[in-house]
Amino acid sequence: MKRVPAVLRGLAFPVALIAIAQIAAMAVRLQSDTLASPAAVLVAGAGAFADGSILVATAQTLANAFGGLALGGIAGLIGGILLGSSIVADRLMEFSVEALRPIPSVALIPVAMLTFGFGFRMEVAIVSFAAFWPVLILTRSAVGGVDAGLLDVARVLRLGPFARTVKIILPAALPRIFVAFRLAAGIALTVAVTVEVSANPLGLGYNMMLAEQSLHPDLMLAYLLWIGIMGWALNLTINGAQRRFFGRSAQARTAP
Protein backbone atom coordinates (compact mmCIF):
# COMPACT_ATOMS: atom_id res chain seq x y z
CA MET A 1 0.00 0.00 0.00
CA LYS A 2 1.26 3.45 -0.87
CA ARG A 3 1.78 5.84 1.99
CA VAL A 4 -0.57 8.82 1.96
CA PRO A 5 0.94 12.06 3.33
CA ALA A 6 -0.53 13.01 6.72
CA VAL A 7 -1.81 16.35 5.44
CA LEU A 8 -3.83 14.72 2.67
CA ARG A 9 -5.16 12.10 5.05
CA GLY A 10 -6.27 14.82 7.46
CA LEU A 11 -7.97 16.79 4.69
CA ALA A 12 -9.92 13.83 3.33
CA PHE A 13 -12.86 14.16 5.71
CA PRO A 14 -13.43 17.95 5.55
CA VAL A 15 -13.01 18.01 1.75
CA ALA A 16 -15.52 15.21 1.39
CA LEU A 17 -17.93 17.02 3.68
CA ILE A 18 -17.64 20.25 1.70
CA ALA A 19 -18.09 18.40 -1.57
CA ILE A 20 -21.24 16.71 -0.27
CA ALA A 21 -22.57 20.06 0.98
CA GLN A 22 -21.90 21.64 -2.41
CA ILE A 23 -23.55 18.78 -4.31
CA ALA A 24 -26.53 18.86 -1.98
CA ALA A 25 -26.87 22.63 -2.31
CA MET A 26 -26.79 22.36 -6.09
CA ALA A 27 -29.21 19.43 -6.10
CA VAL A 28 -31.87 21.31 -4.14
CA ARG A 29 -31.04 24.68 -5.81
CA LEU A 30 -30.45 26.19 -2.40
CA GLN A 31 -32.16 29.54 -1.84
CA SER A 32 -31.90 30.27 1.86
CA ASP A 33 -31.59 33.06 4.45
CA THR A 34 -29.83 30.71 6.86
CA LEU A 35 -27.62 28.43 4.77
CA ALA A 36 -25.24 28.93 1.90
CA SER A 37 -23.41 26.59 -0.45
CA PRO A 38 -19.63 26.23 0.00
CA ALA A 39 -19.11 27.95 -3.34
CA ALA A 40 -21.24 30.93 -2.26
CA VAL A 41 -19.29 31.10 1.00
CA LEU A 42 -16.03 31.22 -0.93
CA VAL A 43 -17.33 33.96 -3.23
CA ALA A 44 -18.54 36.04 -0.28
CA GLY A 45 -15.20 35.52 1.49
CA ALA A 46 -13.28 36.56 -1.62
CA GLY A 47 -15.40 39.69 -1.80
CA ALA A 48 -14.64 40.55 1.82
CA PHE A 49 -10.95 40.17 1.10
CA ALA A 50 -11.23 42.24 -2.06
CA ASP A 51 -12.82 45.23 -0.31
CA GLY A 52 -10.45 44.79 2.64
CA SER A 53 -13.22 44.58 5.25
CA ILE A 54 -12.15 41.17 6.51
CA LEU A 55 -8.53 42.32 6.85
CA VAL A 56 -9.50 45.37 8.91
CA ALA A 57 -11.72 43.20 11.10
CA THR A 58 -8.91 40.65 11.52
CA ALA A 59 -6.47 43.34 12.55
CA GLN A 60 -8.96 44.65 15.13
CA THR A 61 -9.67 41.23 16.59
CA LEU A 62 -6.00 40.28 16.75
CA ALA A 63 -5.09 43.62 18.33
CA ASN A 64 -7.70 43.01 21.02
CA ALA A 65 -6.73 39.39 21.55
CA PHE A 66 -2.99 40.00 21.71
CA GLY A 67 -3.34 43.26 23.64
CA GLY A 68 -5.40 41.43 26.25
CA LEU A 69 -3.05 38.44 26.19
CA ALA A 70 -0.04 40.68 26.75
CA LEU A 71 -1.62 42.64 29.62
CA GLY A 72 -3.29 39.71 31.34
CA GLY A 73 -0.43 37.35 30.60
CA ILE A 74 2.26 39.61 32.02
CA ALA A 75 0.16 40.33 35.11
CA GLY A 76 -0.52 36.60 35.49
CA LEU A 77 3.16 35.81 35.03
CA ILE A 78 4.27 38.23 37.72
CA GLY A 79 1.49 37.12 40.06
CA GLY A 80 2.25 33.46 39.40
CA ILE A 81 5.94 33.93 40.16
CA LEU A 82 5.09 35.68 43.43
CA LEU A 83 2.53 33.08 44.50
CA GLY A 84 4.73 30.21 43.37
CA SER A 85 7.81 31.37 45.23
CA SER A 86 6.19 32.57 48.45
CA ILE A 87 4.06 30.25 50.54
CA VAL A 88 2.90 33.24 52.58
CA ALA A 89 1.69 35.11 49.50
CA ASP A 90 0.05 31.96 48.17
CA ARG A 91 -1.89 31.34 51.40
CA LEU A 92 -2.83 35.00 51.62
CA MET A 93 -4.20 35.12 48.09
CA GLU A 94 -5.67 31.64 47.88
CA PHE A 95 -9.20 32.70 48.78
CA SER A 96 -9.20 35.75 46.50
CA VAL A 97 -7.91 33.73 43.57
CA GLU A 98 -10.44 30.97 44.05
CA ALA A 99 -13.28 33.47 44.49
CA LEU A 100 -12.48 35.63 41.46
CA ARG A 101 -11.30 33.00 39.03
CA PRO A 102 -14.68 31.32 38.43
CA ILE A 103 -16.26 34.60 37.25
CA PRO A 104 -16.98 34.00 33.56
CA SER A 105 -15.04 36.64 31.68
CA VAL A 106 -17.98 37.46 29.40
CA ALA A 107 -20.04 38.35 32.47
CA LEU A 108 -17.76 41.37 32.74
CA ILE A 109 -18.99 42.74 29.41
CA PRO A 110 -21.61 45.02 31.01
CA VAL A 111 -19.14 46.20 33.64
CA ALA A 112 -16.45 46.90 31.07
CA MET A 113 -18.94 48.61 28.78
CA LEU A 114 -20.05 50.90 31.57
CA THR A 115 -16.44 51.67 32.48
CA PHE A 116 -14.86 52.03 29.08
CA GLY A 117 -17.73 52.31 26.59
CA PHE A 118 -17.45 50.52 23.25
CA GLY A 119 -14.05 50.09 21.67
CA PHE A 120 -10.67 48.54 22.14
CA ARG A 121 -10.24 49.30 25.83
CA MET A 122 -13.28 47.43 27.04
CA GLU A 123 -12.47 44.40 24.91
CA VAL A 124 -8.81 44.35 25.91
CA ALA A 125 -9.89 44.60 29.57
CA ILE A 126 -12.13 41.55 29.29
CA VAL A 127 -9.62 39.53 27.27
CA SER A 128 -6.87 40.32 29.76
CA PHE A 129 -9.09 39.19 32.62
CA ALA A 130 -9.69 35.91 30.82
CA ALA A 131 -6.02 35.41 29.92
CA PHE A 132 -4.81 36.36 33.40
CA TRP A 133 -6.11 33.28 35.23
CA PRO A 134 -4.63 30.40 33.26
CA VAL A 135 -1.26 32.14 33.19
CA LEU A 136 -1.44 32.89 36.92
CA ILE A 137 -2.46 29.38 37.92
CA LEU A 138 -0.08 27.54 35.61
CA THR A 139 2.87 29.84 36.34
CA ARG A 140 2.24 29.42 40.06
CA SER A 141 2.36 25.64 39.75
CA ALA A 142 5.33 25.75 37.33
CA VAL A 143 7.30 27.94 39.73
CA GLY A 144 6.20 25.93 42.74
CA GLY A 145 7.23 22.77 40.90
CA VAL A 146 10.80 23.85 40.21
CA ASP A 147 13.05 21.05 41.39
CA ALA A 148 14.10 21.39 45.02
CA GLY A 149 17.60 20.38 43.94
CA LEU A 150 17.92 23.49 41.78
CA LEU A 151 16.63 25.66 44.62
CA ASP A 152 19.28 24.13 46.90
CA VAL A 153 21.89 25.11 44.33
CA ALA A 154 20.54 28.66 44.35
CA ARG A 155 20.77 28.69 48.14
CA VAL A 156 24.28 27.29 48.50
CA LEU A 157 25.52 29.73 45.86
CA ARG A 158 23.75 32.47 47.82
CA LEU A 159 21.82 33.93 44.92
CA GLY A 160 19.56 36.82 45.89
CA PRO A 161 15.80 36.70 45.22
CA PHE A 162 16.12 38.49 41.88
CA ALA A 163 19.05 36.41 40.60
CA ARG A 164 17.34 33.26 41.82
CA THR A 165 14.17 34.12 39.93
CA VAL A 166 15.91 35.16 36.71
CA LYS A 167 18.71 32.59 36.63
CA ILE A 168 17.08 29.51 38.14
CA ILE A 169 13.32 29.65 38.56
CA LEU A 170 12.22 31.25 35.29
CA PRO A 171 14.42 29.15 32.99
CA ALA A 172 13.44 26.01 34.86
CA ALA A 173 9.74 26.86 34.67
CA LEU A 174 9.83 28.31 31.15
CA PRO A 175 8.56 25.28 29.22
CA ARG A 176 5.49 25.08 31.47
CA ILE A 177 5.00 28.85 31.43
CA PHE A 178 5.01 28.65 27.66
CA VAL A 179 2.22 26.09 27.82
CA ALA A 180 0.28 28.56 29.97
CA PHE A 181 0.63 31.25 27.33
CA ARG A 182 -0.37 28.82 24.62
CA LEU A 183 -3.56 28.05 26.50
CA ALA A 184 -4.16 31.72 27.23
CA ALA A 185 -3.70 32.67 23.56
CA GLY A 186 -6.52 30.34 22.55
CA ILE A 187 -8.71 31.74 25.30
CA ALA A 188 -7.85 35.31 24.28
CA LEU A 189 -8.99 34.76 20.70
CA THR A 190 -12.18 33.02 21.82
CA VAL A 191 -13.06 35.74 24.31
CA ALA A 192 -12.24 38.54 21.86
CA VAL A 193 -14.61 37.10 19.25
CA THR A 194 -17.25 36.47 21.92
CA VAL A 195 -17.11 40.08 23.09
CA GLU A 196 -17.42 41.25 19.49
CA VAL A 197 -20.33 38.95 18.75
CA SER A 198 -22.22 39.98 21.83
CA ALA A 199 -21.41 43.64 22.37
CA ASN A 200 -18.44 45.40 20.87
CA PRO A 201 -18.84 46.87 17.36
CA LEU A 202 -15.35 45.80 16.24
CA GLY A 203 -13.56 42.95 14.58
CA LEU A 204 -14.46 39.59 13.12
CA GLY A 205 -17.19 38.79 15.62
CA TYR A 206 -19.05 42.03 14.94
CA ASN A 207 -18.75 41.66 11.16
CA MET A 208 -20.09 38.16 11.47
CA MET A 209 -23.09 39.52 13.38
CA LEU A 210 -23.63 42.20 10.76
CA ALA A 211 -23.70 39.57 8.02
CA GLU A 212 -26.17 37.54 10.03
CA GLN A 213 -28.46 40.49 10.69
CA SER A 214 -28.43 41.59 7.08
CA LEU A 215 -29.36 38.03 6.05
CA HIS A 216 -26.09 37.18 4.34
CA PRO A 217 -25.44 33.62 5.49
CA ASP A 218 -22.72 33.23 2.86
CA LEU A 219 -20.68 36.11 4.28
CA MET A 220 -21.45 35.03 7.86
CA LEU A 221 -20.14 31.54 7.15
CA ALA A 222 -17.12 32.98 5.35
CA TYR A 223 -16.27 34.86 8.56
CA LEU A 224 -16.81 31.73 10.60
CA LEU A 225 -14.48 29.81 8.29
CA TRP A 226 -11.88 32.58 8.55
CA ILE A 227 -12.09 32.66 12.37
CA GLY A 228 -11.53 28.91 12.34
CA ILE A 229 -8.49 29.33 10.10
CA MET A 230 -7.15 32.07 12.41
CA GLY A 231 -7.46 29.83 15.47
CA TRP A 232 -5.85 26.95 13.65
CA ALA A 233 -2.95 29.11 12.39
CA LEU A 234 -2.44 30.58 15.86
CA ASN A 235 -2.22 27.13 17.40
CA LEU A 236 0.13 25.93 14.66
CA THR A 237 2.44 28.92 15.13
CA ILE A 238 2.61 28.50 18.89
CA ASN A 239 3.14 24.75 18.66
CA GLY A 240 5.93 25.33 16.16
CA ALA A 241 7.57 27.88 18.44
CA GLN A 242 7.27 25.51 21.38
CA ARG A 243 8.89 22.70 19.47
CA ARG A 244 11.61 24.98 18.20
CA PHE A 245 12.53 26.56 21.52
CA PHE A 246 11.93 23.71 23.90
CA GLY A 247 12.16 20.69 21.62
CA ARG A 248 14.31 18.47 23.76
CA SER A 249 14.49 20.44 26.94
CA ALA A 250 10.68 20.60 27.14
CA GLN A 251 10.68 16.95 28.08
CA ALA A 252 13.49 17.38 30.58
CA ARG A 253 12.38 18.18 34.09
CA THR A 254 9.00 19.61 33.16
CA ALA A 255 7.15 16.72 34.71
CA PRO A 256 6.30 17.38 38.37
Binding site: D147, A163, I168
Partner: protein
Protein backbone atom coordinates in the same frame (compact mmCIF):
# COMPACT_ATOMS: atom_id res chain seq x y z
CA UNK B 1 40.11 26.13 76.83
CA UNK B 2 41.01 24.19 73.71
CA UNK B 3 41.50 26.01 70.43
CA UNK B 4 38.41 26.38 68.25
CA UNK B 5 38.56 23.86 65.38
CA UNK B 6 37.59 24.87 61.85
CA UNK B 7 34.22 23.17 62.15
CA UNK B 8 32.42 22.37 65.37
CA UNK B 9 29.12 20.63 66.01
CA UNK B 10 28.19 21.64 69.52
CA UNK B 11 25.44 19.50 71.09
CA UNK B 12 23.47 19.68 67.87
CA UNK B 13 20.01 18.19 67.65
CA UNK B 14 17.66 18.30 64.71
CA UNK B 15 14.01 17.43 64.81
CA UNK B 16 12.14 17.31 61.52
CA UNK B 17 8.38 17.01 61.58
CA UNK B 18 8.41 15.88 65.22
CA UNK B 19 10.95 13.13 64.54
CA UNK B 20 14.42 13.36 66.06
CA UNK B 21 16.88 13.08 63.16
CA UNK B 22 20.06 13.96 65.03
CA UNK B 23 20.61 14.11 68.78
CA UNK B 24 23.42 15.66 70.69
CA UNK B 25 26.03 15.64 67.97
CA UNK B 26 29.44 16.77 69.18
CA UNK B 27 32.08 16.79 66.50
CA UNK B 28 35.22 18.74 65.78
CA UNK B 29 36.81 18.90 62.36
CA UNK B 30 40.22 20.46 61.85
CA UNK B 31 41.34 22.41 58.82
CA UNK B 32 42.68 20.04 56.16
CA UNK B 33 40.76 17.03 57.45
CA UNK B 34 39.16 14.68 54.97
CA UNK B 35 36.24 13.39 56.98
CA UNK B 36 34.09 10.62 55.57
CA UNK B 37 30.70 9.95 57.12
CA UNK B 38 29.13 6.52 56.87
CA UNK B 39 26.12 4.92 58.43
CA UNK B 40 22.91 3.10 57.57
CA UNK B 41 20.24 5.04 55.73
CA UNK B 42 18.20 7.35 57.92
CA UNK B 43 21.05 8.02 60.31
CA UNK B 44 21.27 11.72 59.46
CA UNK B 45 24.40 11.82 57.27
CA UNK B 46 22.85 14.18 54.78
CA UNK B 47 21.24 16.21 57.55
CA UNK B 48 24.69 16.86 59.04
CA UNK B 49 25.91 17.97 55.64
CA UNK B 50 22.94 20.30 55.21
CA UNK B 51 23.63 21.82 58.62
CA UNK B 52 27.20 22.55 57.56
CA UNK B 53 26.01 23.91 54.24
CA UNK B 54 23.70 26.31 56.03
CA UNK B 55 20.68 24.76 54.32
CA UNK B 56 19.20 23.72 57.64
CA UNK B 57 19.33 25.17 61.15
CA UNK B 58 19.65 22.89 64.16
CA UNK B 59 16.72 22.59 66.54
CA UNK B 60 19.15 22.77 69.45
CA UNK B 61 22.86 23.44 69.78
CA UNK B 62 24.95 25.12 67.13
CA UNK B 63 27.22 24.41 64.21
CA UNK B 64 30.21 26.74 63.98
CA UNK B 65 32.64 27.50 61.22
CA UNK B 66 35.86 29.20 62.35
CA UNK B 67 34.12 30.08 65.59
CA UNK B 68 31.08 31.62 63.91
CA UNK B 69 27.66 30.09 64.04
CA UNK B 70 26.44 28.85 60.64
CA UNK B 71 22.97 30.18 59.95
CA UNK B 72 23.01 30.40 56.15
CA UNK B 73 25.13 29.15 53.26
CA UNK B 74 28.64 30.61 53.13
CA UNK B 75 30.74 31.41 50.08
CA UNK B 76 33.74 29.55 51.52
CA UNK B 77 31.76 26.33 51.95
CA UNK B 78 30.88 24.65 48.64
CA UNK B 79 28.35 21.86 48.31
CA UNK B 80 28.39 19.07 45.78
CA UNK B 81 25.12 17.19 45.49
CA UNK B 82 24.58 13.53 44.79
CA UNK B 83 22.04 13.96 42.02
CA UNK B 84 23.90 15.78 39.27
CA UNK B 85 20.75 15.77 37.15
CA UNK B 86 19.13 18.11 39.62
CA UNK B 87 22.19 20.16 40.55
CA UNK B 88 23.23 21.41 37.12
CA UNK B 89 21.28 23.89 35.02
CA UNK B 90 20.30 21.99 31.86
CA UNK B 91 19.79 25.24 29.91
CA UNK B 92 23.33 26.45 30.53
CA UNK B 93 26.49 25.14 28.91
CA UNK B 94 29.26 23.53 30.92
CA UNK B 95 31.04 26.89 31.08
CA UNK B 96 27.76 28.62 31.93
CA UNK B 97 27.20 26.30 34.87
CA UNK B 98 30.61 27.16 36.29
CA UNK B 99 29.93 30.82 35.58
CA UNK B 100 26.86 30.66 37.84
CA UNK B 101 29.10 30.29 40.89
CA UNK B 102 31.14 33.32 39.82
CA UNK B 103 28.06 35.40 39.05
CA UNK B 104 26.77 34.56 42.52
CA UNK B 105 30.04 35.87 43.98
CA UNK B 106 29.83 39.06 41.87
CA UNK B 107 33.12 38.26 40.15
CA UNK B 108 33.64 40.95 37.47
CA UNK B 109 32.72 39.75 33.99
CA UNK B 110 36.26 40.19 32.69
CA UNK B 111 37.70 37.80 35.27
CA UNK B 112 35.21 35.05 34.73
CA UNK B 113 36.50 33.36 31.54
CA UNK B 114 39.95 32.74 33.02
CA UNK B 115 38.52 31.34 36.24
CA UNK B 116 36.03 29.17 34.36
CA UNK B 117 38.79 27.84 32.13
CA UNK B 118 40.99 27.11 35.13
CA UNK B 119 38.23 25.25 36.97
CA UNK B 120 37.33 23.22 33.87
CA UNK B 121 40.98 22.40 33.22
CA UNK B 122 41.37 21.10 36.77
CA UNK B 123 38.61 18.53 36.23
CA UNK B 124 39.55 17.78 32.62
CA UNK B 125 36.49 19.29 31.00
CA UNK B 126 38.17 22.01 28.93
CA UNK B 127 37.12 20.40 25.68
CA UNK B 128 33.48 20.25 26.77
CA UNK B 129 33.03 23.91 27.74
CA UNK B 130 30.35 24.58 25.13
CA UNK B 131 28.43 21.32 25.61
CA UNK B 132 25.26 21.07 27.66
CA UNK B 133 25.07 18.89 30.78
CA UNK B 134 22.73 16.36 29.18
CA UNK B 135 25.38 15.77 26.50
CA UNK B 136 27.83 14.60 29.17
CA UNK B 137 28.17 11.25 30.93
CA UNK B 138 27.30 11.00 34.61
CA UNK B 139 30.96 11.07 35.56
CA UNK B 140 31.55 14.21 33.53
CA UNK B 141 28.50 15.88 35.06
CA UNK B 142 29.91 15.20 38.52
CA UNK B 143 33.23 16.64 37.35
CA UNK B 144 31.32 19.71 36.30
CA UNK B 145 29.82 19.99 39.77
CA UNK B 146 33.33 19.75 41.21
CA UNK B 147 34.44 22.50 38.82
CA UNK B 148 31.58 24.73 39.92
CA UNK B 149 32.55 24.16 43.55
CA UNK B 150 36.22 24.89 42.79
CA UNK B 151 35.34 28.11 40.97
CA UNK B 152 34.16 29.62 44.24
CA UNK B 153 37.55 28.73 45.78
CA UNK B 154 36.05 27.21 48.91
CA UNK B 155 37.82 26.40 52.17
CA UNK B 156 35.45 23.51 52.78
CA UNK B 157 33.92 21.02 50.35
CA UNK B 158 30.76 19.22 51.34
CA UNK B 159 30.08 16.18 49.20
CA UNK B 160 26.85 14.23 49.51
CA UNK B 161 27.37 10.72 48.10
CA UNK B 162 28.81 12.33 44.99
CA UNK B 163 29.80 9.10 43.27
CA UNK B 164 26.90 6.94 44.42
CA UNK B 165 25.28 6.81 40.98
CA UNK B 166 28.46 6.18 38.97
CA UNK B 167 29.92 2.94 37.72
CA UNK B 168 32.89 1.42 39.55
CA UNK B 169 35.60 2.48 37.11
CA UNK B 170 34.42 6.08 36.84
CA UNK B 171 34.05 6.20 40.57
CA UNK B 172 37.67 5.17 41.17
CA UNK B 173 38.94 7.71 38.67
CA UNK B 174 36.94 10.47 40.31
CA UNK B 175 38.06 9.40 43.79
CA UNK B 176 41.67 9.90 42.76
CA UNK B 177 40.86 13.20 41.10
CA UNK B 178 39.14 14.48 44.22
CA UNK B 179 42.11 13.41 46.33
CA UNK B 180 44.58 15.25 44.11
CA UNK B 181 42.39 18.36 43.85
CA UNK B 182 41.95 18.44 47.61
CA UNK B 183 45.62 17.92 48.33
CA UNK B 184 46.48 20.71 45.90
CA UNK B 185 43.95 23.17 47.35
CA UNK B 186 44.25 22.15 50.99
CA UNK B 187 40.47 22.22 51.37
CA UNK B 188 38.73 20.53 54.25
CA UNK B 189 36.28 17.88 53.08
CA UNK B 190 33.11 16.50 54.61
CA UNK B 191 32.25 13.49 52.48
CA UNK B 192 29.05 11.52 52.94
CA UNK B 193 29.00 8.03 51.46
CA UNK B 194 27.42 4.66 51.96
CA UNK B 195 30.44 2.92 50.47
CA UNK B 196 32.71 1.82 53.34
CA UNK B 197 35.70 1.16 51.09
CA UNK B 198 35.33 4.59 49.55
CA UNK B 199 35.28 6.12 53.02
CA UNK B 200 38.48 4.37 54.08
CA UNK B 201 40.17 5.03 50.75
CA UNK B 202 39.49 8.76 50.76
CA UNK B 203 39.38 9.85 54.37
CA UNK B 204 41.86 10.44 57.10
CA UNK B 205 38.95 10.07 59.46
CA UNK B 206 35.76 8.04 59.18
CA UNK B 207 32.75 8.92 61.29
CA UNK B 208 30.14 6.22 61.79
CA UNK B 209 26.60 7.30 62.58
CA UNK B 210 23.82 5.23 64.07
CA UNK B 211 20.13 5.89 63.42
CA UNK B 212 16.98 6.38 65.53
CA UNK B 213 17.98 8.96 66.47
CA UNK B 214 21.10 9.80 64.49
CA UNK B 215 24.21 10.00 66.62
CA UNK B 216 27.97 9.67 66.26
CA UNK B 217 28.83 6.12 67.24
CA UNK B 218 32.32 5.66 65.94
CA UNK B 219 35.20 7.90 64.96
CA UNK B 220 38.13 6.15 63.35
CA UNK B 221 41.42 7.66 62.25
CA UNK B 222 42.70 6.30 58.94
CA UNK B 223 46.47 6.08 59.07
CA UNK B 224 47.01 4.96 55.51
CA UNK B 225 49.84 6.70 53.68
CA UNK B 226 49.14 9.37 51.07
CA UNK B 227 49.02 9.64 48.15
CA UNK B 228 46.55 6.81 48.10
CA UNK B 229 46.64 4.31 45.28
CA UNK B 230 43.74 2.25 44.00
CA UNK B 231 45.87 -0.93 44.08
CA UNK B 232 48.42 -0.63 46.86
CA UNK B 233 46.19 1.25 49.31
CA UNK B 234 43.40 -1.25 48.90
CA UNK B 235 45.88 -4.13 49.39
CA UNK B 236 47.26 -2.62 52.59
CA UNK B 237 46.44 -4.81 55.65
CA UNK B 238 45.42 -1.66 57.50
CA UNK B 239 42.84 -0.95 54.76
CA UNK B 240 41.43 -4.45 55.22
CA UNK B 241 41.35 -4.05 59.00
CA UNK B 242 39.49 -0.72 58.83
CA UNK B 243 37.07 -2.00 56.24
CA UNK B 244 36.33 -4.98 58.48
CA UNK B 245 35.88 -2.75 61.51
CA UNK B 246 33.42 -0.47 59.69
CA UNK B 247 31.63 -3.38 58.12
CA UNK B 248 31.01 -4.91 61.56
CA UNK B 249 29.86 -1.54 62.82
CA UNK B 250 27.29 -1.15 60.06
CA UNK B 251 26.16 -4.76 60.38
CA UNK B 252 25.55 -4.29 64.11
CA UNK B 253 23.69 -1.09 63.40
CA UNK B 254 21.37 -2.77 60.94
CA UNK B 255 20.89 -5.90 63.03
Amino acid sequence: MEAEPLIAFDRVSVTLGGLPVLTDIDLRIDAGDFVCVVGPSGCGKTTMLRLLGGLLEPTAGEVRYAGKRITEPRADIAVMFQDYGRALLPWRTVAGNVSLALEALDVPKGERPARIAAALATVGLSAKAEKYPNQLSGGMQQRLQIARCLAQEPKVLLMDEPFGALDAMTRQTLQDEVLSIVSASGATVFFVTHDLEEAVYLGNRVIGLLPHPGRVASDVAVALPRPRNQLTTREDPEFARLRRQLFDFIKDAEA
